[in-house]
Structures are given as C-alpha cells and as structure tokens.
C-alpha cells in the first residue's frame, strides 16, 4: 500500500491517526461504501473460483451429472496431456513481453523526453488504435502477413525467412499460421499496456538528472544505464506484468494468426469448456494456469522489489 499516512509523532491515544477523531456513527461509513462493490467481487469473482475448484475435482458426465469425488487425478491427466500448450503459452507470453519492452521503451522514451509540444499528439496516437475493436485489428494482421504479400516478399528477399525457418519460428515461405505470427500479434495487442506505464514512470524523472549525469562525464549510454533505466523500473515492472498476464491466457491471437501447432493453453480451456464440455478438465486447466501466473507474478514482484504496485 502506498497510502501510508505518516504515523503522527503524538501518542496515538485514541488509536485514530486522522486529524479529527471521527464520531462513532462515522466509523461505519467506510464499510457502507465498500459493501456493494466488495460483495459484487466476492459473489462474481471469489465464489466462482471456489465453484471452479470444486468442479475440477468432480467426475461424471453431462448426462449423469457431475459429482464431487475428489478426483485429483484430473490435474495430473490434463498436465500430461496439455503440458506442450502450457509451456508454449508461457514461452510465447514471455517472448511477447520482452519484445514489448524492447519495442515499447524507445517510444515511451521519445514521448517522455523528446516529443516537446507533440507529446499529446503522440499519446493520442498510442491510445487511438485501441478504439478499433482488437479483433478487427488482429484480423488486419492476416492481411499484412498474408502469403505472397509485401511483408513475406520483403522478408524473403532479405533471406530473413530462411533464418526463421531454421529456428522453427516460421515454416516454408509463410508467416501466417506460424509461431512468429502469433508472437507478433501478441506483442502488437498488448504493446499499449507496456508503453503507458513506462511513459508514466519516465515522465516523472527530473530532466536535470540527465544534465547532471552529463556534467559528470557520463556517456549517454551510461546515463541511461545508471540513471534513466533504474528510475523507470516501476514502469518496467508494471508494464511487463500488464503484458505477460493477458498474453499468457490469450487464445485470440493463437486462433486467428496461428495453426494447430501454435495452440496456447487459453484455446484448450476455451474448447474444453465451450465445445468438448469436459468441465472438470477445463476447470483443472484453468486452475493450473491461475496458479502458475500468480506464482510467476508474485515471484517477479518480490524479485523486482516493488510491492507498491497498487
């Protein structure tokens, strides 16, 4: 929590660090304010997770109804069956997050330090693409990466596709339906979630620090490494989280731009739930995904040392 109102030096006689001791009636006010929203979150966020946990240890079928039998074996089964999709999701999400950071940082830096009076225009341009439904924009990538299209031609001419083919990122003379296309889509779709936090933390940096570093004979690269980047770390941490979390569970990009070989775990959960109707397996998969993501996130936050994200 950042709202750590400084503890007053005076002895906290009433245990009330507010400037005015509140009358008793008022003490209930925060609870009334919280009640509706928190109830909503409990009923439609927490309780569903409990239901899902219970579903994941049920057995049965749609016809004979599912019953809780504590069949934990389901977890092991789905892991054995779907671990490639799990690993692939984590890999794609990690690569997309890293690409977002590499690609997004210069733009955030440009807007924060070099844009001058064009800053607002650039910010609008970053946010504006959002307003066209992301599904439509993802479909546009189908056109951009189309077989025999200009992008494929250019990459072919530069022999880039030969290289990516060897690495297994693409196959043949195609970009569509390859891992590269899916990662491109993921990077594209979640890039604003990286740029905006980066920009916010870069914008707070006092410009005079750069001058001071320059005056102390730091090269621009050293200034960046020792001053700018460390000071933008909060933005890096929240940006990477905001891109990693949604991309790890995404199935839109894998479905629209990928093939059967690029299926991510989100697609599996979706089809198990909505098509196959194997609810226990779907619930178990979803639970494992949640556990993995929460573990990665909390480990990462602890390592990065910024627990004041909220």
């Amino acid at each position: 929590m950042t709202a750590t109102a400084a503890r007053p030096a005076a002895p906290p006689a009433a245990g009330e660090p507010k400037p005015r001791p509140a009358p008793r009636r008022k003490r209930l006010v925060p609870y009334w304010l919280l009640l509706p929203g928190i109830l909503w979150l409990i009923i439609f966020f927490v309780v569903p997770l409990v239901y899902q946990a219970s579903t994941s240890v049920q057995t049965g079928s749609l016809e004979n109804s599912f019953r809780v039998t504590w069949h934990v074996q389901t977890y092991w089964d789905v892991l054995q069956q779907y671990y490639p999709q799990f690993l692939r999701s984590l890999l794609y999400a990690a690569v997309a997050t890293l690409l977002c950071l590499v690609v997004g940082y210069p733009l955030a830096y440009l807007i924060a330090f070099r844009a001058g009076r064009h800053r607002n225009i650039l910010l609008v341009l970053v946010i504006a693409p959002f307003f066209t439904s992301f599904l439509i924009r993802t479909l546009a990538w189908k056109t951009i990466l189309a077989d025999g299209g200009p992008v494929v031609h250019a990459l072919n001419a530069l022999h880039v596709l030969d290289l990516t083919d060897v690495l297994g990122w693409t196959s043949g003379d195609r970009l569509l339906a390859t891992p590269l296309a899916v990662v491109t889509g993921l990077t594209y779709n979640f890039l604003p979630f990286m740029i905006l936090p980066l920009y916010t933390s870069l914008e707070r940096i006092d410009h005079r620090l750069h001058e001071a570093a320059g005056d102390l004979y730091a090269t621009p690269w050293t200034t960046f490494r020792k001053v700018t980047f460390p000071m933008s770390l909060p933005g890096v941490v929240s940006g990477t989280l905001l891109t990693f979390i949604p991309s790890s569970g995404d199935y839109v990009n894998a479905q629209l731009l990928g093939s059967a070989d690029t299926k991510m775990i989100g697609s599996v959960i979706q089809s198990q739930f909505l098509t196959v109707l194997d609810y226990p397996a779907a619930a178990a998969l979803s639970f494992i995904l949640m556990a993995v993501v929460l573990f990665v996130v909390s480990y990462y936050i602890r390592r990065a040392g910024t627990e004041e994200l909220l």
Binding site: L41, F44, Y51, T55, R137, L139, A140, P220
Partner: protein, 271 residues
C-alpha cells in the same frame, strides 16, 4: 565534431527513429482496416485487395446482425460503465479517506482480478452460472463486465483522490458547509477527472471485451462476438467500416477534448 556529441546526436536520432517505427507498427493495422473498408472482395473474406468500392460505406448495416450486435455492445458498455463507476468510486473513497479493519484483504480483492488471465475469470464465472442454472445472455454479460471493470475504476479514482488536498474539504467544513454540500461542491468536482478516466476505461474495456463475453454470452452476440464469428464464416467489409468509424470518432473526441482543456488551461492561467 567531438565524437561524444556525435554519439549523443546519433543516439538521439536512434531513439526517435526506433520510437516512430514502433508507432508505425501500432498504427499499421488501423491503416489496413481503413483501406480495406473500401475494398470489394472477391470471396467471403476481406483479406486481399480486389478493387475500390464505396458499397460498404453506403450500407454500414448491410451485413446481417452486425448493427444489432453493435447496439447490444454499446448498451452493455453503458450499463457496465455506470455500474462499475459507481461501485468503484465508492470503494476508492473508502480506501483513501477512511481507516478500517480489513484494508489488506480489500486491496488484494481489487488487485487479483487484474492479476489474473481473463480466461480464468471467464471460465470460473461460467462454472458459477452453470451451477446456478442461470440463463446465459445479456445479464450474465453485464454482471461479468461490471466485475472486471470495477478494479480499474478503483485504481483510477484512487490515484486522483489520493493526490487531493484534504485541507480543501476541511476548509469547506470550516465555512459551515454540511457533509453533503462539501462532497457535492468540493470533493466530487476535484475527483471528477479520476472518475471520468475510470468510466472511460470501463467503457472501452467492456465494449471491446471478447474472452469473458465469449464464455458467458450463451447465444447472445455482442460486436466482438460478431467479429469472431465472421472470422470463421466470412468477414463482411462492413466490419472494417465500423472499425474505421470507431477509430475516427474516438480520435475526434480526444482531439476536441484536448482543444477544450487546452483553452481552459490558457484561460485559467490568464485570469
């Protein structure tokens, strides 16, 4: 030229070039969407260029079900925005303005929906609705949208209220304003930009939501669901028309807002 300044200058341009390339990467799909809204595709799919045509712009509702889904999405987005903004603003005020027991759990409860892949929330909410035997459709979508928009409103409003000077409210009370009057005349106007930001974000999130809606919509078709379905069956050019129109309208609104606030700021500094 001194090599150090040369390096500095090169890097300066490098950052600008890299940044603009990123911007191009972000805007390219919008350009494609716009260009292809003037296409007359040969088959069912609007993925490759055939020849110029204004047909789709002349009949934006020409594709069956498109405008109905658009209307439904707008309707849900409005209701979800209202619901999430009211509930979220109340929570934000409670968190910033009051001390109470259970602050930690409340904070985690608000953080968790944002730290969870959408598909997990979508799947678990569906298990709840299935277990309750709820009819999937408009109401289940609305419930889900309010749920995931709430946290974002809390964060947006909290940031604004936290940076507010509490002495302003004390001054109002010292000047004999009642609690209601203080709230309506002082607190709310100052918090308004945060509330507006939260509401805008909710609207955008709800309007564009696909994954949670995909799970909890039943056979109800929102606009993203329509686009998803058409990606399987055939994409009418009208999708691109709607996408382009949304983009243009949003940019116009933002630019107009910038102009107004810029003028107001200038007027404020002049007076």
């Amino acid at each position: 030229m001194n090599p150090l300044t040369a390096l500095r200058r090169a890097r300066r341009h490098l950052v600008v070039i890299a940044g603009l390339l990123t911007l191009a990467y972000m805007i390219l799909p919008n350009v494609v969407v716009m260009v292809f809204s003037f296409n007359k595709p040969t088959g069912r799919f609007n993925y490759s260029w055939n020849h110029f045509s204004l047909d789709a712009w002349k009949s934006p509702c020409g594709a069956a079900g498109l405008c109905g889904s658009l209307g439904l999405s707008l309707q849900i987005a409005v209701y979800a925005t209202i619901g999430a903004t009211v509930l979220g603003t109340m929570i934000a005020f409670a968190l910033v303005r009051y001390r109470f027991h259970g602050r930690g759990p409340v904070n985690s409860l608000i953080f968790l929906p944002m730290a969870m892949p959408e598909v997990v929330m979508a799947a678990s909410l569906l298990t709840l609705f299935l277990n309750l035997g709820a009819q999937l459709g408009f109401w289940t979508i609305l419930i889900a949208h309010i749920m995931f928009c709430l946290s974002f409103v809390v964060v947006a409003v909290k940031a604004r209220v936290m940076s507010m000077d509490p002495r302003l409210e004390e001054a109002a009370r010292d000047l004999y304003a009642g609690p209601v009057q203080t709230f309506l005349r002082v607190t709310l106007p100052i918090a308004a930009p945060g509330i507006a930001a939260g509401a805008l974000l909710s609207f955008a999130l709800s309007f564009d939501d696909f994954i949670i809606t995909n799970f909890n919509a039943g056979s109800t078709v929102t606009f993203p669901m329509f686009v998803w379905g058409s990606a399987q069956r055939g994409t009418p050019v009208q999708i691109n028309v709607i996408g382009t129109a949304m983009f243009v309208i949003a940019v116009l609104i933002v630019v107009a807002g910038q102009l107004v606030s810029g003028r107001r700021a200038r007027a404020g500094s002049a007076s």
